[in-house]
């Protein structure tokens, strides 16, 4: 994992377009993270903090999301990509290194974006879509098994339970981001800096705690 996460030198920052050359094409691969869930779960803020952390760690970074129809309740996805030089803001099918799903069904929905042998970090929360309530389809069981059919590592985080324990269900997103942080080797201080940059002051302490709780909950420890 460390191999494709070499921060570039500060001097090698985004180059002006006029200097694109062939040697750049042999660049190191781009890392792609998909964040998925249900509208209202705070996916866009989580993606924002992740991309900012990537940038603060010296990578070129791009993030894409779509501000869709209703404010709440629809399926929401954000793509975050970082590396030496990132072109497309979207990951290809079967290309994503990580899928961070804020809801169980939304993990399954976006699994085809994950590369063979990728990693899925999933919030153990069920939000039943209206289509299921009205009998158009069933909420699938055994989602972990299906995820394992594609992903090398599947980690389930009880993010809703943790957030409830903290007394605020709005911090599920930061719990999940904290768990993801254990898989990426961005220095701890870049995460903290990104949180400070992107979270309103009023909620910063709460969000920092949620991030720390998520990091604790993740079983993976990065080995340098």
């Amino acid at each position: 994992m460390r191999r494709d996460l070499q921060p570039r030198s500060p001097a090698g920052a985004v180059r002006p377009r006029s200097t694109i050359n062939q040697s750049e094409k042999a660049m190191k691969p781009t890392t792609s993270v998909i964040l998925s869930g249900v509208g209202g779960q705070g996916i866009l803020l989580a993606g924002e903090i992740l991309a900012t952390a990537a940038m603060n760690s010296g990578f070129d970074a791009k993030k894409s999301e779509v501000h869709g129809m209703a404010q709440r309740g629809g399926s929401v996805v954000a793509h975050v990509r970082f590396g030496e030089k990132v072109y497309s803001p979207l990951a290809k099918l079967g290309e994503a290194d990580y899928l961070v799903a804020f809801e169980r069904l939304e993990a399954l929905r976006y699994l085809p974006l994950v590369k063979n042998g990728g990693t899925v970090v999933m919030n153990d929360q069920r939000i039943v879509p209206l289509s299921v309530t009205f009998g158009a389809g069933a909420y699938p069981e055994k989602i972990e098994e299906m995820l394992s059919g594609r992903a090398k590592a599947v980690e389930v985080i009880p993010a809703l339970a943790i957030a409830q324990e903290m007394g605020n269900t709005n911090v599920v997103n930061l719990v999940m981001l904290g768990a993801l942080s254990k898989y990426l080797i961005f220095p701890e201080e870049t995460w903290q800096k990104s949180l400070e940059e992107r979270v309103p002051k009023k909620f910063l302490e709460l969000n920092q705690k949620a991030f720390a709780r998520g990091a604790e909950a993740a079983r993976t420890k990065v080995t340098a």
């Binding site: 920052a13 985004v14 377009r17 006029s18 694109i20 050359n21 062939q22 094409k25 249900v38 509208g39 991309a51 900012t52 940038m55 070129d60 970074a61 791009k62 993030k63 894409s64 999301e65 779509v66 501000h67 869709g68 129809m69 209703a70 404010q71 709440r72 309740g73 629809g74 399926s75 990132v86 072109y87 497309s88 803001p89 979207l90 290809k92 099918l93 079967g94 069904l105 399954l108 929905r109 699994l111 085809p112 994950v114 063979n116 039943v128 879509p129 209206l130 289509s131 299921v132 309530t133 009205f134 158009a136 389809g137 069933a138 909420y139 699938p140 299906m146 059919g149 594609r150 269900t169």
Partner: protein, 573 residues
């Protein structure tokens, strides 16, 4: 200094750096955040206008008054503003003008996916197309320079993916150009036919000069590669193509009207084969073919929908097998929020078997199952006129079932003139203004009915009832959409009248009014699983053995479901 900005934030930053002093817009996805971010710079007088046409006209005024000015809208907004836009091309500007059109390939949040690049050629206005946030910022600045140097508005054509993707941007300082003064110029600014004929000649000469400029515009450039394949592309398609064809020779077109014909011929001479990779219409492709250059484009690349790296790769033969999931994943549509004041209105209209002409906003979702209570949706404001037209065609009796539903912001945008048409032409339609006190769908922007400006300053507030009466509507009712009994009675009464009616359903958007009440309790003894409450389509309701289970995390305690229940099985705690 570097910042991580969305395309929209970058446009606002570009406006700031370019010394823009005035900006206007009507909110519309994917363009909304441009003005929200302009408003963060105190140097830019920023405003929400009533609609895009007004925004364009105010911008023209600001330009003539000497300010560098920017106006932003979504692609269909430019249809609304097309009238002043075309003639602005003739008059030209005083302070520079950049018109931002945010197109929506893929229709993430729009009623069509028209390709607004055609507007540049149609109105004979130079067009710049950024492919990321850095270019979005840079092109606003260069756009202002082009505008003033060539005496023309400049079209900055964005797309959803450019607007809403974030990337790294190098920030610069603000540089205000020397202040311009207003100069009366009858021949330029009063488009009487005698003047406009001369201005048309000017426009044609200007286009020739812009063609020369386009040749040397640094955003139009050849990126060297192997000569086997030449790729012509622009906008975000450039980013996808760069990943799919890392070795090809590229012609990146950032100024796509007028096209740099000499540069295109030079490029054609360097490569053995040319493909054009562009979203939506074959705009560049047809231009190249008209120049006699053989190219491949839409014979391979889809005409419909948004492109992506994989659609481009697939179009050129790369085999991408999507991982097949072992089960079908149930769809998760966007839905009206739990406690949305619109839900009860549509529930009642459904039970009254009304024919509902609908409009653009969150409430368009009232057309989705299980409510399925909307018959039509065309464009901003259309519900009102369509209700009248349907009645004219179907006869007076049918009018007893036709209701137009239109949100507060949409009504002010372009519903008022329709309502006046009903009165003037002796219609008897019922128009329901869904007043939730905000422009909800685009993320809660203020409008003339909220009493606040974009800068959150207090201003005068529209009185919908007084407005309707002044237009000549006598039957005006104001109701609380949570009070289903009152809603039903209001519609029944208004629909039975031989005169036009306005029903104003007033309650704040549930995302703005954060007051919460307890979820109702389900009395499983009383509940007979009739399923009536499920017709509301409330996302806080799940089903077990045919009976409701209230998800207390989502329920806001509006208790509209309890009003629907005939057996008092849903009770306030």
């Amino acid at each position: 200094m570097k910042a991580f900005l969305s395309g929209n934030e970058a446009v606002a930053r570009g406006a700031y750096e370019a010394g823009v002093r005035f900006a206007a817009a009507y909110p519309g996805t994917p363009s909304t955040e441009i003005l929200e971010n302009c408003a963060k710079y105190s140097e830019i007088a920023s405003q929400w206008s009533t609609n895009e046409k007004v925004a364009m006209e105010v911008t023209i005024g600001a330009s003539l008054g000497g300010a560098r000015s920017l106006v932003a809208m979504k692609h269909v907004g430019l249809n609304v503003a097309a009238d002043p836009f075309f003639t602005l091309s003739y008059t030209g500007v005083n302070g520079g003008v950049v018109v931002v059109s945010a197109d929506d390939p893929g229709m993430h949040s729009s009623q069509n996916e028209q390709d607004n690049r055609h507007y540049a050629r149609f109105a004979k206005v130079p067009m710049l197309e950024p492919s990321d946030s850095q270019e979005a910022k840079d092109f606003v600045k260069v756009g202002m320079e082009i505008s003033e140097a060539f005496d023309t508005p400049v079209l900055l054509r964005m797309t959803t993916r450019v607007c809403h993707s974030k990337s790294v941007v190098e920030l610069g300082e603000r540089a205000e150009p020397p202040k311009k003064t207003y100069q009366k110029d009858f021949a330029k600014y009063v488009v009487l036919p005698s003047n406009a004929r001369k201005r048309h000649v000017f426009v044609e000469e200007r286009t020739k000069k812009l063609e020369e400029y386009s040749e040397s515009f640094p955003g139009n450039r050849i990126e060297p590669g192997e000569p086997e394949l030449g790729v012509v592309t622009g906008s975000v398609a450039y980013q996808y193509a760069r990943e799919v064809f890392p070795k090809a020779t590229f012609l990146k077109l950032s100024m796509s009207y007028p096209l740099p014909r000499k540069l295109i011929r030079e490029f054609a001479g360097k490569v053995k084969k040319i493909v054009v990779i562009e979203e939506l219409d074959p705009y560049i492709e047809e231009n190249l073919k008209a120049m006699g250059i053989p190219v491949e484009g839409k014979s391979k690349i889809p005409l419909c929908g948004e492109l992506s790296t994989e659609t481009v790769a697939k179009a050129f033969g790369e085999e991408i097998k999507p991982y097949a999931l072992p089960v079908e994943v149930p769809i998760r549509f966007p839905v009206l929020c739990p406690g949305c004041p619109h839900s009860g209105i549509y529930y009642v209209l459904k039970t009254l078997k009304a024919t509902v002409t609908g409009d653009i906003g969150c409430y368009t979702l009232g057309g989705m199952p299980p409510l399925s209570a909307m018959d039509t949706c065309i464009c901003m404001g259309a519900s009102v006129g369509m209700a009248l037209g349907m009645k004219k065609a179907m006869g007076r009796d049918s009018a007893k079932r036709i209701v137009a539903t239109i949100g507060d912001s949409t009504f002010l945008h372009s519903g008022i003139t329709g309502l006046l048409d009903i009165v003037y032409n002796k219609g008897v339609s019922t128009v329901c203004i869904l007043d939730n006190g905000t422009t909800a769908m685009t993320g809660h922007q203020d409008h003339p009915g909220t009493g606040k400006t974009l800068a959150k300053e207090q201003t005068s507030k529209v009185d919908y009832a007084a407005l309707a009466r002044s237009l000549g509507i006598k039957d005006v009712k104001v109701i609380d959409p949570y009070d289903l009994k009152a809603v039903r009675e209001a519609f029944k009464d208004s629909l039975s009248r031989a005169e036009p009616s306005v029903v104003i359903a007033q309650r704040a958007c549930v995302l703005l009014d954060r007051k919460r009440a307890k979820a109702p309790a389900v009395d499983l003894e009383k509940c007979n699983a009739c399923g009536l409450c499920f017709l509301l389509g409330c996302p806080a309701m799940e089903k077990a053995d045919g009976k409701p289970v209230i998800n207390e995390v989502f329920c806001v305690g509006c208790h509209v479901c309890a009003e629907i229940c005939n057996r008092e099985a849903l009770q306030a705690l």
